[in-house]
């Protein structure tokens, strides 16, 4: 299974990328830990997480093909 992970705003500078694929992650919490391992700096930033373009509040299981995004506070307008 493969999860597509998107980064936006300042997080693209923290991670150095816009998109990255992860395999073998069963939940959002699991993914978050993997990303903190890869980019320890990310713990200093505020962000929300969306799953398939919907903001999620708590923990959520992940399935093959899911798209997870790490979203700094919105700043449109």
């Amino acid at each position: 299974m493969e999860i597509k992970v998107l980064f936006f705003g300042v997080l693209t500078e923290v991670t150095g990328c816009n998109v990255k694929y992860y395999a073998n992650v069963s939940s959002v919490g699991d993914l978050r830990l993997r990303i903190q391992d890869d980019y320890p700096e990310i713990v200093h930033y505020n962000y929300m997480i969306s799953l398939n373009q919907q903001l999620i509040n708590g923990e959520s299981a992940l399935n093959n093909g899911d798209e997870v995004a790490f979203l700094p506070p919105f700043a449109g307008g």
């Binding site: 998107l6 936006f8 705003g9 300042v10 693209t12 500078e13 969306s50 373009q53 919907q54 995004a69 979203l71 700094p72 506070p73 919105f74 700043a75 449109g76 307008g77």
Partner: protein, 142 residues
């Protein structure tokens, strides 16, 4: 590309077109418009020359559609809600946000436009990086 995103600045001609062509039935008496522009803010020794906007495009589509639905549900007199946000580079003085709400009467047009702008600020997945005249940049919260 999203229906709601515009590459670069919003052209004033787009605004005119939207104002001229709305409401073929001629039953809307009030049109409220909000235009957001990039300010040449001065901070310390530097001045904003442009903002580089980026967006989560697929999510902008669903969030913008749901903002429009919420507004139409909340304001029974509203006939239409239009919104356009820039992505990419928008220079100081240029337009980055354009919202237009048509209603039968003025109060609902004005209140619905105001609420649409607030919902965009709160919910639309868009980010901005201010570019300064000393070639530095900064990701902004607001």
């Amino acid at each position: 590309m999203s229906d709601y995103l515009v590459n670069g600045p919003v052209n004033p001609e787009l605004i005119t077109r939207q104002i001229s062509f709305c409401d073929e039935k001629n039953d809307s008496g009030g049109i409220s418009v909000f235009i957001g522009r990039v300010r040449a803010d001065k901070t310390d020794s530097k001045t904003v020359v442009a903002i580089d906007y980026s967006a989560y495009e697929e999510m902008v589509n669903s969030v913008a559609a749901s903002i429009k639905e919420d507004i139409m549900l909340e304001f029974s007199d509203v006939r239409s809600v239009k919104l356009f946000h820039s992505i990419g580079n928008v220079k100081a003085g240029e337009i980055s946000l354009f919202v237009l709400v048509e209603a039968g009467h003025r109060r609902q047009a004005i209140d619905a436009c105001s609420m649409t702008v607030e919902l965009i600020k709160e919910k639309l997945p868009v980010w901005k990086r201010e570019l300064y005249d000393n070639d530095s940049h900064e990701w902004k919260r607001q």
